[in-house]
Symmetry: C2
């Protein structure tokens, strides 16, 4: 795994995926634009492929048609025999696995990197989601993006909980050799905001610039970085029937609340009956994804995280023979038949 | 019409409807709460019925299942013969017409007032939507609400364009003798925000208080009020295929842009290609519903309005014999079988 996550060869093929959730419109419209005019994705040493990940959901402006695509990339689902009754997103996950993977092979066939573009209704600014701090390449990419956009808070979230047996990743970026998710908010589902759109466009450009620097033989020194690591989720208060019985507390919903410390005993929910619900944990946590629309059905009012400062080792320069001065593949979009929406 | 819109008899039956659009959650959860505990809706002189208007859409957390319920209350649709192929919302509109109307009868059978609760993704604060300034009762109710909540900007929008033959109203509140729509934002679809929820709850309480004052014989003097009157809508820039070609301009999207003057020549859209699109009208207008998620499919980026100051005549006290000192009907919710979601 280390050889993959700290690559010793140039990146040849990169995918930028949008519309994995069809109502997160920044990625949907950026990808649609790039499919018409891919010029801003082109870099000298590698090809970049824009992919509309869930065209049916994007056409309907819904998160998904049958089930959440970004939870469908497990080896079990990808390798199981296709049937006519499969949910649309399971079929689409297999198509994307064919296009960008395959995840299970461990071969050279998979794309080198997938950058997956998302929006959240939470007030999370720019959040870069990396599977874990062992992903040295993604950590350096995140550090580069933080330095490129000092005026906008840009946080790194490690989504794999710290445990001995980490669960298999089920997200789109897991089908390629490496990947990262970009999560920008706040933006309502079904809405395009110009500021969020421009920020995502600039982040993608800067990420591709970083990959070009790496391919050209740049070495990146060690650094220390603040990160937020997943500790689990907190559900809304519920009735006996499982319906919502309350709402995120105004103090937690306040405009700067994501990433801010939440102390034990602080109010986190307001019940419809008027009563406050307080945080019963024993330690300070840092909530994120506060009041994300898509997480109501997942019984997640917010994620609890811990804030850490981690030391990231250097990313050494590629050995000279491996550097790339000319593109090895075609630069431009691929238009497989299943991508139209 | 004047006798209806300036009532000369006490209000007996009032409905508060939420979830007409199933992903506008303040109304959905207020109505669900009131169906369990209607005590805060009770007033001495009239009954108030909470109604979940579109239970199937609310269960799916979508605006609608087949078509927009809040455009389905035309006499043509309500009176046409039911068929098994009717869209869900057309069937539901007929059920609501039976429950709260009927719209077409002009008889005493209809509810006296429907208050319909909505949310918008636009930054519109509190917006009270009245069909026109001839609706003296709704204008006095709006004035009362503005005075009750001086700390929150509260605007009145007259949605019927000024023209000789006004189109038939197709919204839910048109099935009753009188009605008004409350539109609160900004709130993403599928999200409950505590501040918006509390504001809507307080507005409903204050509206019911006004009706109680009227029933008890209070006279309301004439006043002048600022209102915004509908002049029509502006679509996004589009490609030849009808797809979006741009986005609301950051200047128009700015946090205080709804209700602010838009001058001819000011930028209103930013194309994906980078080019600005400027407003080509000849007069200053006041845009509202800027970047409402549900209006993308209606080809509406915002509504143009004109700002007027209008004089509203007094609302005289009911003659003493007509006043009500005891409730005439039962106070509490009605639970028709079709309301469960």
């Amino acid at each position: 795994m280390c050889s993959v996550l700290m690559p010793r060869a140039p990146l040849r093929r990169v995918a930028v995926t949008g519309g994995t959730h069809g109502n997160e419109l920044s990625g949907v419209y950026l990808v649609r634009h790039w499919l018409q005019d891919p010029s801003e994705l082109q870099r000298p040493s590698f090809s970049t492929t824009p992919v509309l990940a869930n065209p049916a959901a994007a056409a309907a402006c819904r998160r998904y048609v049958d089930c959440d695509l970004n939870r469908a990339f497990t080896c079990t689902l990808l390798l199981s025999r296709a049937t006519p009754d499969d949910p649309y997103e399971v079929t689409r996950a297999r198509e994307l696995d064919q296009l960008l993977g395959p995840k299970a092979s461990g071969s050279d066939q998979a794309f080198d990197f997938v950058l997956d573009l998302h929006n959240t209704t939470a007030n999370m600014g720019t959040c870069l989601i990396v599977n874990g701090s062992h992903n040295i390449f993604a950590m350096h990419l995140s550090h580069h993006l933080k330095l490129q956009f000092p005026e906008v808070p840009c946080r790194v979230f490690l989504h794999q909980p710290l445990q001995s047996a980490a669960p298999e990743s089920n997200t789109l970026d897991s089908v390629a050799k490496n990947g990262m998710t970009v999560e920008l908010g706040p933006q309502p589902q079904g809405v395009l905001r110009a500021d969020v759109f421009s920020r995502m466009r600039a982040l993608v450009a800067s990420a591709l610039d970083f990959m070009e620097l790496f391919n050209q033989g740049t070495a990146f020194p060690a650094f220390e970085m603040e990160v937020y690591r997943n500790l689990g989720s907190e559900d809304f208060p519920r009735t006996e029937d499982g319906d919502l019985a309350g709402i995120v507390h105004p103090q937690l919903q306040a405009s700067v609340a994501d990433y801010e410390p939440l102390q034990p005993g602080a109010p986190i929910f307001q019940k419809f009956s008027g009563e406050d619900v307080r945080y019963e944990g024993h330690a300070t946590v840092y909530p994120i994804f506060i009041n994300e629309a898509a997480y109501y059905e997942k019984h997640v009012a917010f994620l609890r995280t811990e804030k850490l400062v981690i030391s990231v080792p250097p990313l050494p320069a590629l050995p000279p023979p491996l550097r790339v001065s000319n593109p090895s593949g075609t630069t431009g979009p691929v238009f497989p038949s299943e991508q139209g929406s």
